[in-house]
Amino acid sequence: MERTDQRMDEIMGRLLRTGVILAAVFVLAGGAVYLARHQTPPTNYRVFQGEPEELRTVPGIIYEVRGLQGRALIQLGLLLLIATPISRVAFSVVAFLYQRDWTYVLVTLIVLGLLVYSLLGRNGGG
């Protein structure tokens, strides 16, 4: 069997690597800012309080990043990390479209829809 998917595999590999590196850079930069400004005793993680609204949503995080807040920068890095596998699935939709493989266009679209829903849908956040 001819390996028609090879070029697709290579692009996908590069996409994943770039996403992880970019995410790590943002988390590292945000971490530096965060640690430089927070000399106080660490946040109490024993009791679950939940993050503030602005660090929970995609638009909220992007808005907060403009103030160069350490925590918001880290959150943006984590958002990039979550977006990495999602963009891989999005890329697969295009790749299967290009191959005219309609079954897998549908399969990847379903997965992509579920992922976008998980990130943007209001999941009953309390």
Binding site: D5, Y34, Q39, T84, P85, T103, L114, S118
Partner: protein
């Protein structure tokens, strides 16, 4: 303990977890949650959120290398991701409704299974069982690189594997782990994929499954940047280091030791849940 000390300790622990996880093939995520809960007294929701993020990082980092070598079966992975992502959404929704003690006990039981599964030698016969109607329709049969060049293989039992993948997804969303053990079980034992194809395709899928869970956790405020930062960076650095050492290391003994550590953590999680 101030913020810098706390961050440094969590980062160091995560580095070690990522390193051992990559070396033994058990994944770092599986020990992060008990480590954060038992050693750092972190609430289970924050712990799961941070672990889930680190799972995406290691899976994507490793998959980047595997995908290019041509081992992973993208079609099998994509099709089964429907099951794992739905499962992850269900698992993440369950976290809200289940009591913390129930989650701890489930976590302990899954840890015990992982420890047990890792000690068992791989016994897949390797005999190709021939083609399967559904797998053929889904064009899942493929080839993979071996010492004798590209070899073709057939895929079996798609519906059963789909069901197992749903379970793997629920566990991932509920516990913040990659559930690689269940994924390999579905592909290696059920679908009869070659072992190397199972493990790499599983790794390829883990990132997508974890992303589905992480999306829900983020929007619910379970992912704290101050905690996730050292965990993600530590596990990522540790697993990259582990993958480097892997080629030269004798991992058999280490695997046993790490399985032992996991078993102890499992018992402690169950004990904590029952208390």
């Amino acid at each position: 303990m101030n913020t810098i000390e706390f961050t440094a300790l969590v980062g160091l622990g995560s580095l070690l977890a990522g390193f051992l996880g990559a070396l033994t093939g058990l994944g770092g995520g599986v020990v992060i949650v008990p480590l954060l809960i038992l050693a750092f007294h972190v609430d289970i929701h924050y712990a799961i959120g941070a672990a889930l993020v680190s799972v995406i990082a290691t899976s994507s980092g490793a998959a980047a290398a595997y995908v290019r070598e041509g081992y992973s079966n993208v079609r099998v992975g994509m099709f089964l991701e429907i099951a794992t992502t739905i499962g992850a959404l269900v698992g993440a929704a369950l976290v809200m409704h289940l009591h913390v003690s129930v989650i701890s006990i489930v976590f302990g039981v899954v840890l015990l299974y992982s420890a047990y599964a890792s000690t068992k030698e791989h016994t897949h016969s390797g005999a190709d069982a021939g083609s399967d109607r559904i797998a053929t329709w889904l064009k899942m049969d493929s080839t993979y690189p071996t010492a004798n060049g590209w070899e073709s293989y057939h895929v079996r039992e798609v519906p059963q594997a789909f069901g197992l993948m749903f379970v793997a997804g629920v566990l991932s969303g509920l516990l913040g782990i990659g559930s690689g053990a269940v994924k390999v079980l579905a592909m290696d034992r059920t679908m009869k994929l070659p072992f190397k194809v199972s493990t790499t395709t599983s790794n390829f899928m883990i990132g997508v499954t974890a992303a589905a869970g992480a999306g829900v956790y983020l929007s619910r405020g379970y992912i704290d940047p101050g905690l996730a930062m050292p965990v993600m960076l530590g596990v990522l650095a540790g697993s990259l280091l582990g993958a480097r050492v892997l080629e030269r290391a004798e991992v058999r003994v280490l695997r046993r030791v790490f399985s032992g550590v996991i078993a102890v953590l499992a018992v402690e999680m169950i004990y904590k849940g029952l208390k």
